[in-house]
């Protein structure tokens, strides 16, 4: 077992805790970002091999001396998607604050039933 796994799972759980428990919308979104970071760390650590270098071909670096490049490519994509989601969420929050004048999720409850 790789120690990075524990760190990333801890980050995911911290993020999940923030989403489920916090009452401020912005804090929930921060939790979402922390969770995404944890997931990205997990993906990276899946491809990590101790003692090898970055997967960029240059002098002295052959495929057997580099780490697995696929997870790194995936994480780049996942980061971009995460940024897009966060931006989308923040713009929704701006609109929400203009309409409700509060960021407390307990007061943002007009839709029920």
């Amino acid at each position: 077992m790789n120690p990075y796994y524990f760190a990333s799972i801890a980050l995911i759980l911290i993020g999940l805790y923030a989403i489920l428990v916090k009452r401020n919308v912005l804090k929930m979104l921060v939790g979402l970002s922390i969770m995404e970071t944890g997931v990205n760390l997990l993906l990276i650590s899946v491809g990590y091999v101790s003692g090898r270098s970055a997967p960029i071909l240059s002098e002295g670096i052959t495929p057997d001396k580099a780490v697995d490049p696929i997870p790194q490519a995936l994480v780049l994509t996942a980061i971009v998607i995460g940024v897009a989601t966060t931006a989308m969420a923040l713009s929704v929050v701006i609109n929400l604050y203009e309409k409700y004048k509060t960021l407390n999720v307990e007061e943002i409850r007009r839709l029920r039933g």
Binding site: I12, G15, L16, I19, V25, M28, L29, L32, M35, E36, G38, V39, N40, L42, L43, V46, I70, P71, L74, T77, A78, I81, A84, T85, M88, A89, V92, V93, N95, L96, K99, Y100, I108, R109, R110, L111, G113
Partner: protein, 494 residues
């Protein structure tokens, strides 16, 4: 020649990013442009459908000419051909409805997001790679968040916020599932995973599969991750609601089915199936119970949609070919019926300014065609013979009996009974209560509604040709050995 099928992905993408330029040139051309693009897309989808059902072979598109698993492939088989046609056709009808229903600016952004939503669902159905599935799922999700918030009222932002938070949790789960499967097998290509599935570590398979299902369950509206759905359905622009129900949900359900069956050789697989059956059952019960006490008709339809989606998920999780085929048939029928019903209810909302039950009093006299369309849809969903949903419900019941899940039969019948209760209440309100002035109905929308009604009745009377197509589509999901054989994997063997 078959490589032109990649236009299904390319055309909406290019058109979406052409819209800002078009806005500079001529602002009033945006909506007609949207109609033309979706019409062309429908044409391509019909061509692909024809091609696949004549030759009987799937079209496999390899990006950049690299063979999988090095390159990424699109796999358009029997299932994808049918459902891409459903996606494009539903989008086309909804663009026509959008010209009437969407009056809030900025329309150019609406058109872009609309095309991206269609693109995302098409991609989810066509892709042959689980990470690409994630990317297409996020394209769909982000455009769906934005479209939910499109009306810019407080309520629509609230619905969008719920959707964003649940969707974010779901996509994180999905990525963790991908990490587990990649860590265990070292591949992301679905066919390659199917080939190696018997070698996967059982714990990684079980947890990875469960996480992937949870991730997709947000979009697929499975309990307990469907809290966003009724709010978003209620607050999104009316054509978008119809699209959510008609194909966004279906694309995610298909993805659940595909991912489950490619890992069917893994150890501990049947425990994941049981998990999905439990999720589906809870979804049906919660959906029907909540629909029963709704006063807002759009919200009632949303909950009814959730319940139907639970039935589809249960059919996928029966683990037999007949179960998968029945569920595909139910997906198809549900797409038609819900497109019709959300179209009709959205039209009522535009004409009469609301969708509360009281607005539906005397609708049969005020808007007879719309009321007729809603009535046919409601009768069909309940499962009355000679309407399409009857046949798929019968097939689901037969499949459940074959798979020895007798209580599923009771659940389906009980759900139909509850549906009958609230839909008959609605029909009664429309035809036998209240009076009102006649409203002149828009002839194009009336034509679309009558077209969909005709479709429902034709399938209801002649189900065999459709059932044949659906069985082929179901086999496409169920028969993993054939799927693996179809994809030309480059120099790998188990």
């Amino acid at each position: 020649m078959s490589q032109y099928a990649s236009l299904l992905i390319a055309l909406p993408l290019f058109s979406a990013f052409f819209i800002p330029i078009l806005k500079r040139l001529n602002k009033s051309a945006i909506m007609p442009f949207l109609v033309v693009v979706t019409l062309v897309q429908t044409g391509i989808a019909a061509w692909v459908f024809n091609e696949i059902y004549i030759t009987g072979k799937p079209i496999i598109i390899m990006a950049g000419g690299f063979r999988p698993p090095v390159g990424i492939n699109l796999y358009i088989g029997h299932f994808a051909a049918v459902f891409i046609l459903v996606v494009t056709l539903a989008s086309f009808l909804m663009t026509v409805f959008s010209m009437r229903a969407v009056n809030v600016e900025p329309k150019d952004k609406y058109a872009m997001l609309f095309l991206l939503l269609m693109l995302g669902a098409t991609g989810m159905i066509a892709t042959g790679d689980i990470f690409n599935l994630f990317v297409f799922m996020e394209i769909t999700a982000i455009s769906a968040y934005a479209l939910t918030a499109y009306n810019k009222t407080g309520e629509s932002s609230e619905a969008a916020l719920k959707y964003v938070v649940l969707g974010g949790i779901g996509s994180s789960f999905f990525l963790v599932g991908i990490a587990l499967i990649y860590g265990s097998l070292g591949t992301l290509n679905m066919a390659h995973i199917g080939q190696l599935a018997s070698m996967i570590n059982p714990t990684a398979a079980k947890i990875g599969l469960a996480l992937l299902i949870f991730g997709l369950a947000v979009e697929a509206e499975q309990f307990p991750l469907n809290a966003w759905a009724p709010d978003a359905y209620q607050e999104a622009p009316h054509p978008v609601t119809a699209m959510f129900s008609a194909f966004v949900v279906k694309a995610s359900l298909y993805a659940i089915g595909r991912i489950i069956y490619i890992l069917s050789a893994a150890e501990g697989w049947s425990s994941v199936l049981r998990l999905l059956i439990v999720l589906g059952t809870l979804t049906v019960i919660v959906g029907e119970m909540s629909a029963l006490r709704q006063n807002n008709v759009k919200r009632m339809f949303a909950y009814s949609s959730i319940a139907q989606v639970g039935l589809i998920a249960m059919g996928l999780a029966l683990g037999t070919e007949s179960g998968v085929s029945a569920s595909v048939f139910h997906m198809f029928n549900h797409a038609i019926v819900k497109a019709l019903m959300f179209l009709a209810v959205g039209y009522v909302a535009i004409e009469l300014g609301g969708v509360e039950m009281s607005k539906f009093e005397g609708l049969g006299k005020r808007m007879p065609i719309t009321a007729f369309a809603i009535t046919v849809g409601a009768i069909s969903i309940i499962g009355i013979p000679l309407f399409n949903v009857f046949w798929s419900k019968i097939q689901l019941i037969l499949a459940a009996l074959n798979a020895e899940y007798t209580w599923v039969v009771a659940l389906i019948l009980g759900a139909s009974l509850i549906e009958a209760t609230y839909y008959i209440r609605l029909i009664h309100t429309m035809w036998f209560k209240g009076e009102g002035e006649k409203v002149k109905e828009n002839s194009v929308l009336a034509l679309i509604m009558l077209l969909l009604v005709a479709f429902i009745i034709v399938i209801g009377i002649y189900p065999e040709p459709f059932w044949d197509v659906m069985q082929k589509a179901g086999r496409d999901i169920f028969d993993v050995a054939q799927y693996v054989k179809n994809v030309p994997l480059m120099g790998v063997s188990p």
